[in-house]
Symmetry: C2
Subunit: 71 residues, 2 copies
DNA sequence: TTGTAATGTAAAATATTTTTCACATTTATC
DNA sequence: GATAAATGTGAAAAATATTTTACATTACAA
């Protein structure tokens, strides 16, 4: 799973730290998400989506084709 | 967070067990989601959304207004 | 070029999700 | 009403997400 968090965050002109603060998580969590290092909880994904001002979760988190077959 | 999993699953005429098998999780996980007992991973939410044939994650998982302020 | 903010990352600890097992209750069918 | 399938739920274990701490590197302003 890839994300557009970095691009969207930069459009807002905020740091990983600030986004983390807004979302209630640490900057390391944001960093790990930007670098595709793990699969967040749905609620965290939702909160980030809201903060970044996008329409839907799928605008921020991009799933690969065969990814729905993996846990 | 509430979900429409039960309704959508019944439209497909499948059991919690079958949906779990399709999503690669146990029936207890499906049951807990249907009864709003926790916040799944984003990937699981995505897989369930795909299996249920809905457009987006938000069609299946419904967030309350002030929920984005809670972790 | 020096200092400062921002980012990348690792390891250990903690929190949360998900599984497993087990049993009770409900629902449908005969 | 008996039987089987489906569902609800609890508790402990396993797996995974997230935090914390700490340090290194990069980017950028003075």
């Amino acid at each position: 799973m890839k994300t557009n968090i970095r691009e969207l965050r930069k459009k807002l002109g905020i740091s990983q730290q600030e986004l983390g603060d807004l979302a209630g998580v640490t900057r390391q969590t944001i960093n790990a998400l930007e670098n595709s290092r793990y699969n967040p909880s749905l609620l965290l994904a939702y909160k980030i989506t809201k903060i970044l001002g996008t329409e839907s979760i799928e605008d921020v988190f991009v799933f690969e084709e065969d990814e729905s077959h993996t846990v």
